[in-house]
Symmetry: D3
Subunit: 293 residues, 6 copies
């Protein structure tokens, strides 16, 4: 396991951690936890981060929790396009996606990033199964804006193939390609897919492993992090401009998922080793938790 | 929960305890752990000990482990006999048990000690069920020595009623009365019953919560405790007189259970708070572990 | 089996009994019959009565009926208190029950009377399982009157542990101790418990084995026994003073159970050999039957 | 039910019959009893006999026994042939059966006698289902002797359709027509079919309801009836000529069935009202019982 | 198989038939098809017709369709009555049925015609099971008109025994005798029974194999056949006298079945080889189809 | 459906095709058919071929056959490498595969070819699920020759994830990447994978859709095609040099699969429209069939 820290040597300190963690282990057993794992976190230079993440996923699965991994891969798509001499075109910050770009995106997400995550988990045992939203047609997409080409939004999610895999104690790893009723594929924002999958599965938790340690009211002031928030509070913070940029889709996905039945959504700093374990099994948790009350 | 200790405040220290504990939690899920809880430990003056013990049992059950409690009650039997003006007769350290003494012993074990343990557990939820070996005839007894009267030995254990309760996530609490084929009841040594029950259930672990911290080669020297031993080593220690007195039946029960399929047997100091949790979920464990190799 | 009577030697007479009994055997197969067996009936001097009762219970079980035995034990509690030099205090005919008295009552009911009934049944096979209402918290109690101490009333019955045992063709034998939500035990009137258990199980029949042959409108006149009555008629007889004394709680329990779904309730003379069989399998039955119409 | 006899009025006499019968009711519950009901017994002039027989079958079914009825119909076949002006030809006591005779026999057995038995049972409830051995090909036949035409012997019995009906608590009523692998139908002796069906079902009992009260060593002396016999004893009696005529196939079928796994076979006087009940549920039984020891 | 036609030798032509048929095979798999097979079609002189019909039934069963055959037998009843010298009496075209006539009809339908169909199917494998409506009381009848004697109408159909056989991949062959609540048997029109059975089973199709190729608006003009019709259109055609005679009960049964949940009803020319296959597995079908729209 | 051919208009000709096909449909229902679909057949210029293939797969699935598609993608891998300016290196006709080449191969097979086949099938309904042999570790690989880099051979196949999908009527589409125990991926020859998957699934048939119409003894002479062969005959033909080049791995896979339990293996001309249907459902079949006798 991870060599990063030594456990406390005092039996009573250990017993205290256990007494704190066991009730959570009981409460989450059999529950589904959807984890959005960002494309940047998977970059080749950070192999240990992927390895630590895979270790957490394997530990959760071992004690009966049902993790689902959803991932993006923007940087990797850009890299292959560059190698092929293609010049990306952006409109309002979104990549314009023609047929060839879609083919590249699909190859990278399904054939590269997804495979790397599956491989990191399967080093521990044959448990991860890679999926694209096209498989069994489980992510139904619709175009977001004609001007953007094959950039899609989630129209619906049919969770039955995911549930089938979870029932067999397998770990679905989802690449965020969807298809419409004519079979046309679309590339979809991974934050939205993670939220929609969590909703469809009636997940206990939706966790965004990001590169900030949660939502802060003042980004310059580390101590201004919110440890918890309601969807209403998030709306106000967006309206007030406190939440901005790439944090907006995460905040929106959290709010939406919580208002549609997911018990809680979390934004954590995925760079903290074992962030998933600490969030799930300690009383105070880490990052920002969004829940109905 | 228990106010005895504060957990370490460092996230990385917590994460380390969790990384150490989770694989054990996974390994023992669904497994049966038979715990012998001594009569002396239940004396009225030590209500907090019973309460901490019940808390551990409840935590084990919560995470899918199947605990079975077996208890004695010698001091309590003696106390009621004294109140009734009866003078106990001992032969070779064993209480001679005539019909009236047996009636008293049965009332105390089944109607008093068993009830107190059931009550302590059920404070957390309606999970404990008290049983006497007479119920569904599950402990078949035979006389140990005619001169001792109704003092019995275990002839056989039919584990089906225990398994039924365990399947329903209930916690059997067993009073050590057995009966022969004519329906005659016998009082049986609780250490032997715990061992026989563990064998019959194919238990993962048999744990004796005693008042010493394991088996030592030199009782005067605390550092001489054996952290592990094989049945063969125990035989040698008994032959050499190193293991003596009340420790002999415990050592014998450990050896016998391990040689008949129980994975490991443990002698712990039951007075250490959360001894059960520390034994089960930490790498080094506590007390003395007896296993085949 | 019982040596009390010779069967008729005429085949046609035998055939007639069988033709009469078989439809009842069919009708009651798989149904639950709750039998209240009184503490006085179990006194040591009447061992044959207990043995005949156990034989009936075993025969019912054999043909697929599901008997549940509920018992009291007032005389036996008094006897032990006397031996311990305790002086019982009564208020309005009810024993004032302090903590020590409760301990004694529980020891006697759970550790002595319950054991004797379990033993008498298990002479035929390993089928009886003794239970106290504390087990799996299945009888929830509340105090009846603060002045009486730990004398309880039934607040609710969770029949799931009984149903589990019945499904396995085991015979629950219930001691009438209940507990409140803080785990405090209470002694409860056995007639009320029998009624509440029958209700909770949706029993086919509730049978009180008492020392009179049913309800009579004129106790001096044997021929005035009612062979059947409705709850309404019982209310009138109580109001008119015809039903009095210890017969009141039995009549009340009958009325209440019938009005809450038990098909019929019966008060029989438990001293008549095989009273249970005659009530269940003959057209005229015996004693007094209470039913909705 | 039957008006033939009054039950004894003494409770103790009734209780004695019940105590005697209940263990048998338990022992035979869920077991299969194959009853051969003779064609002569079903003649129109004896409607009450058929009605009493049907009542017994219905009572057995009600208490969980699984009756299977196998019947012949020689007299009824002869009657229709006579009406059609056909002259039966016999060889060694067996009817020579050409294609037309087979057609008549099949019409009478399947379309008349079988229907009358089904009708008599179904007066009580929709439980009887008439079957010919051709249905689902469950009785495979082979010719007995070319000279006899379509007179068959049992080659094999596939009990699955019978077991299916029995599992649904239905009562199969079997007409003794079988078919060979080319689909050709044959008329088969009903005693042999009853034996083969009992074997194939692993029946508890095979009962022949005949017009004698069992096997006697001296037919002139009623008191010479054997109450029990082994297959070996029957062989000796046949060899010695004591068993003769129409009793030979019954004795043979009894011996054969018992030696192939049927627990016991019985020859009773079917004219005794409720003969089936008396045989099954009384200690002494009636008629002659054939069993392995 | 049938020697009647050679398949086309062109692969592409074969592939085209398969592409046309496979979707129907999929659509009808697991569905129930009730086929009325007329008594006239079974006359002895036309053995090949019965054999081809049986072949179709066996092929349907093989690919997972659940066929149920319902048959009449008027000509055969008349033949046996004539041999017995009985003179049939008709009133308004319906046979007056006294007790003796009913006995004859039942013998012929259940003991002769039903057996012949069962035999023809079972030549291929042990799959057909003959049933009369009396079996398990599954066709409840009521008298049609006192003046007609034991001529019945369908009061209700309990499909459970049919469903049980279908679940086991057996083929029920139904003779159209029903019984009332007193057990009295009645002879019922086979067209009505076929319709009522299709309704009770929620059949996909009800098919009448008749001796015309469907419903024509002008019987003299072959090209006037309706390939499809609604129940309303049929009513108008009956009212206008276009549908007349023996076609009326078929048209009525079609309309009624369709309006009570059967997907479609068909009148085909049963003399066309493999009429059933052509109707089920080709786009255009044959005969006249009645459906809701 | 396909516009390629008109079905024959004669009912009797249609009936003949149906009578020929239905027994095969019955025989193959529920059976698994593994189809190797070549990378060349999927080239973009031949969209109709992929579309006709997908139609056949969908029809097979509809009638209860369980198709599994295994595909390669050599031409597509070469095309992307060319675009990236990479120069492939071959040794003995096999592509030397370094880490970067493997990454490209995996992206193309998993992220492009696999997706195109999944998309073509899912146009008909959400049934296809793409898999790489890494998913749930179901294809365990080992290196073929160190000089070739990451070119692997099949070490073992764990069919459980395929069986799970087949049980849910889904169609697995397999990209031929495997992984070793350290998680390292390998590119494996698709013919070998198809054979190993068929073995592991105990498939009924293994079908190679190639660009020749089977195995011929004289390639110049179309009429020399073998319609069937045994593994032994194939060995002789390989030894004699009659089977050569790219046909060798197909012949070897056929022989090996048949000798390990697959019922039959087939080499067909995949360019013939509906080749799969014609092979499965006509008496003569097409191409060359390899079977044990």
């Amino acid at each position: 396991m991870s060599p990063l820290a030594a456990p406390p040597s005092e039996p009573s300190a250990k017993a205290a951690v256990l007494c704190e963690a066991l009730p959570y282990i009981h409460r989450f057993a059999g529950r589904t936890v959807v984890v959005k794992y960002g494309g940047s976190a998977i970059a080749a230079e950070d192999e240990q981060a992927l390895s630590l993440f895979a270790e957490d996923v394997v530990l959760l699965r071992a004690i009966g929790i049902r993790p689902v991994v959803v991932h993006g891969g923007g940087p990797q798509i850009g890299a292959l396009m560059a190698r092929l001499g293609m010049v990306p075109e952006f409109r309002d910050g979104l990549r314009v996606t023609d047929a060839e770009t879609l083919d590249i995106a699909r190859m990278v997400l399904v054939g590269k990033v997804n495979r790397d995550i599956v491989g990191a988990i399967n080093l521990h045992g044959p448990w991860a199964v890679g999926l694209s939203g096209e498989d069994a047609g489980f992510i139904r997409a619709e175009p977001r804006d004609p001007a953007l080409g094959y950039v899609g939004e989630v129209a619906s999610v049919d969770p039955s193939i995911l549930e089938r895999l979870l029932r067999e104690s397998l770990v679905p790893v989802v690449a965020t390609i969807g298809s419409d009723t004519t079979g046309q594929a679309y590339n979809i924002n991974a934050d939205s897919v993670a939220g929609a999958v969590a909703e469809a599965l009636g997940a206990e938790k939706l966790v965004f492993l990001s590169d900030v340690d949660g939502i802060s009211t003042d980004r310059a002031d580390g101590s201004s992090r919110l440890s918890s928030a309601t969807p209403e509070q998030l709306s106000e913070l967006v309206a007030a401009g406190v939440i901005a940029g790439g944090m907006i889709p995460k905040a929106t996905a959290c709010s939406r998922a919580v208002s549609r039945g997911v018990k809680s959504a979390h934004i954590l700093d995925g760079r903290l080793p074992h962030a998933l374990l600490l969030e799930l099994f300690t009383q105070e948790g880490i990052g920002t938790m969004v829940s109905a009350r």
